[in-house]
Amino acid sequence: MMKKRAKKASARIGVLAGAAGAVAAFPTLAFAEQAEAEASSGISVILPHMVEFIPMLVAFIVLAIILWKFGWPMFEGMLVKREQTIKNDLEKAERDRIESERVLSDYKRQLDDAKNQAAQIVADAKQTGEGVRADLAAKAKVESAAMIEKAHATIEADKKTAVAELQASVADTAVAVASRIIGQDLSDDEHRAIIARYVSEAGSFNAN
């Protein structure tokens, strides 16, 4: 396709170059022909004169040969080079596209990995947090139970101490009252009666 278009373009350039060369080589004939055309008429108007036609043809052929020999290879080399450049560019673009797609795929994969890792980290952190929270809750529960038990023990001990102190106080008071009553309110005879009863009820020296 490219070669066909290149050949058409070269043909047009050849025609134009031939015409330009003829005009440059025979300017006088052109003016003479114009004057003669103005003077003549009929079919001869459109038929070339051999005198003019042959040199123009020769010039055209010479110019075409020159162009075919020197111009065309240069032009074809430029086209080939251009074609190669475009091809290389296209291949490079294709490689770049593939590379970019690969990079993009890598980026996407890495992004997915990063997202997965982030999700895993968040999940781990959440799980760890829940574990820590559960541990703290269990520990707090145990500590609170221990504190309650200790408080109960302390209360019970204080209660026992208070009861013991109350009992001791009551006992001391009762003994003091009894001592005062017996010591002050009993007569000597009553004391002697108590002594007599205690002597009769007392144990033996041999028993001690």
């Binding site: 000597d188 004391h191 002697r192 108590i194 007392a202 033996s204 020296f205 041999n206």
Partner: protein
């Protein structure tokens, strides 16, 4: 060869025996009991008076003659036999054996005279009926004649405390109240 402890025991027994015999010869059983009570008082005084105890027991404090003179002057109202025995003990450096002499005296009083002194503590003086009741009871317990050594002590509140030969019967109101107090506290 006798040991030092055996020698001391023999010395103590000798002093106690001499005291019992001397008191008995001087005034019979009652005199022996009086000597026993005086000996108990002297023992209590000697224990409570540190200066007297030091003067009579320390070797370097006074000479033996001075120690004997101290005893005669301090216990001038004591039974003469007792006073002389104590003076001899002080002169010989045996005054520290006084508590053991008293214990031995009590034992020998029971053995030689068949009599036991029972210390009776009450809050009111005993009447004859109580004395007879106590004597009959202690006679039955101890198997010897009994002489009561009566003391009045209001701290026992009521009842009676009897002791003889290191044995004691505490039937006082104070001890019973103390027992009741302990029961109330422990319940």
């Amino acid at each position: 060869m006798p040991t030092k402890r055996e020698l001391a025991r023999e010395t103590v027994a000798t002093y106690a025996s001499f005291l019992v015999d001397g008191a008995n010869e001087a005034g019979g059983q009652q005199c022996a009991v009086d000597v026993r009570n005086q000996l108990a008082n002297i023992l209590r005084i000697s224990r409570s008076n540190l200066d007297l105890a030091t003067a009579l027991t320390e070797e370097s404090a006074y000479t033996p003659e001075q120690k004997g003179e101290i005893v005669r002057n301090v216990f001038v109202d004591a039974n003469p036999v007792l006073k002389e025995v104590l003076a001899v003990m002080a002169e010989r450096g045996d005054y520290a054996l006084l508590s053991r002499v008293w214990a031995s005296y009590t034992e020998q009083l029971e053995k030689k005279l068949n009599v036991t002194v029972v210390d009776v503590t009450t809050v009111v003086p005993l009447d004859d009926a109580l004395r007879e009741q106590i004597i009959n009871k202690t006679k039955a317990d101890l198997g010897t004649d009994v002489v009561l050594n009566e003391k009045i002590d209001k701290s026992i509140i009521g009842g009676i405390v009897m002791s003889a030969n290191g044995r004691r019967i505490d039937a006082s109101v104070a001890s019973q109240l103390e027992h009741a107090r302990n029961v109330l506290k422990e319940s």
